[in-house]
Amino acid sequence: MAPSTSPLSPASPFLIELRDVSCGYGERVILEKVNLRIPRGKVLALIGTSGGGKTTVLRLLGRQIRPIQGQVLFDGQDLAPLNLDQLYAVRRRMGMLFQFGALFTDLSVFENVAFPLREHTKLPEAMIRDLVLMKLNAVGLRGARDLMPSEVSGGMARRVALARAIALDPDLVLYDEPFAGLDPISLGVAARLIRDLNDALGLTSVIVSHDLHETFGIADEVAMIANGRVVAQGTPDELRHSEDPLVKQFVGAHADGPVRFHQPAVPVAQDFGVAA
């Protein structure tokens, strides 16, 4: 029997589980036997070097890609064998914030947020209006409803996209680099919003980010992914004080360490034709 999907009777304290997941593109392996559990109601941050596999985890959670091996469970349900209808039913319980918002450029801010409601519900227009304005109010952009995406700043676009991501009151929100390219004010606003919305709406959030300061400030748990594996997982404080050399290098932003500054190359003496 399929596990219960009601948020009121959780089958497990974890909304998401990755069990021995391996994943890759062609012959290139990105993730190798990754195990990760994401508790309900928490904010989990995925950090790690570029190309280390963070975004791949996010893509696995939305089943934009399938693992070569292992299972990705959403609320106890393995995502891999789902057909398109079943997958869409699961995705209706997820929201995703893309790096640059991915707003529909031919629709106004209001219509962007109304889009999932119009597609998935048959609510009367008055109720759609109220719901959209409530979501826009939650991100502080009720006054921007009539603007087009080309007329709002990058930070505002991301807030509109956040309002759209939570339009259907999802259980899980995935954030792909939500802080990239934002000014300090927008950055603080975005971080606060992620935390507040998570708590107010009872969401579970997964953030992929390079911005350690903001991320550590709002995350309940942090998982560091490097070389296709989860190398550390714990509270932000635990990672800050970790003795693991890789975590230390990453959190301390040191240029050299287990992640080398220099690409492997022939000796310097050989390249410049001088004696060593």
Partner: protein, 257 residues
């Protein structure tokens, strides 16, 4: 070595054809849902059709002018200059209306379709839609496909009608052919089913071809600026060649029936 390269190239081409056929069937399978939400299709008929109207109208007028002049030049040698109306009408309705409209449609609406879908892909809008559990094939591709298929015969009809008016302008007021002969020869010589019907069938086939090629190129393009620009160019090249080749096939079939 050469054999393996050729084999690989053939395999990749076949895979492309297979991918295109699969997308075509997927779009057709989703057409019911798209047509039920007719507002989406109507919007596309407006975008694709209405915005191509000026280029279609102007082109039709000039093609009509030229047809009448060239037709008169030939027909007057045989003393049958009055048949110029019939010549203009048959040329437009059977051949030039559907073909030139399809070529102009590929350049005007096809490129904008490709660029729109390509940029939606590059801006992750299609992925965002999928993550919102909305199928882009149903929501984006199918309404545009039917918008194009519906718009094409309407535009071809406008092209032919304006072309006939252009032909009249040159033949009657300018050259001085009798208006009664001009219209009555046309009326007597153009058959609704054999001539107009064949033209409509052609423009429907071209509508399917050009719109699908444009959608395919946009949907399959590399999501980068150069990827979108190459796809836009391919839309014009592939759909124009396909229209000309199909026109020969259709004409040959229509003659043999």
């Amino acid at each position: 070595m050469i054999a393996s390269r050729v084999g690989r190239a053939v395999r990749l081409q076949l895979a492309d054809v297979g991918g295109a056929a699969r997308l075509f069937l997927q779009v057709l399978a989703r057409s019911g849902t798209a047509l039920l939400r007719f507002g989406l299709v109507r919007e596309q008929v407006f975008f694709l059709g209405n915005r191509s109207l000026s280029i279609i109208g102007v082109s039709g007028l000039f093609v009509g002018f030229v047809l009448a002049l060239q037709g008169y030049y030939t027909l007057q040698r045989y003393g049958s200059a009055e048949a110029v109306g019939l010549l203009v009408a048959l040329s437009l309705v059977r051949e030039l209306g559907p073909v030139v409209t399809a070529l102009l449609f590929a350049g005007r609406a096809g490129t904008s379709l490709t660029a729109e879908i390509g940029l939606m892909k590059a801006g992750e809008q299609l992925t965002a839609m999928e993550m919102m559990a909305v199928d882009p094939l149903t929501r984006v591709l199918a309404p545009r496909f039917w918008g194009g298929v519906i718009a094409m015969p309407l535009l071809a009809a406008v092209f032919s009608a304006v072309g006939i008016i252009g032909g009249w302008l040159v033949a009657v007021p300018l050259i001085g052919i009798d208006a009664g002969s001009f219209w009555s020869q046309m009326q007597g010589g153009v058959d609704v089913w054999a001539d107009v019907g064949n033209g409509v069938i052609k423009s429907l086939v071209f509508g399917v071809t050009v719109t699908f090629v444009a959608l395919l190129q946009g949907y399959a393009c590399k999501p980068t600026p150069e990827g979108v620009s190459q796809a836009t160019t391919r839309t014009v090249v592939v759909s124009s060649l396909a229209v000309l080749a199909l026109d020969f096939v259709l004409t040959a079939m229509m003659f043999s029936i």
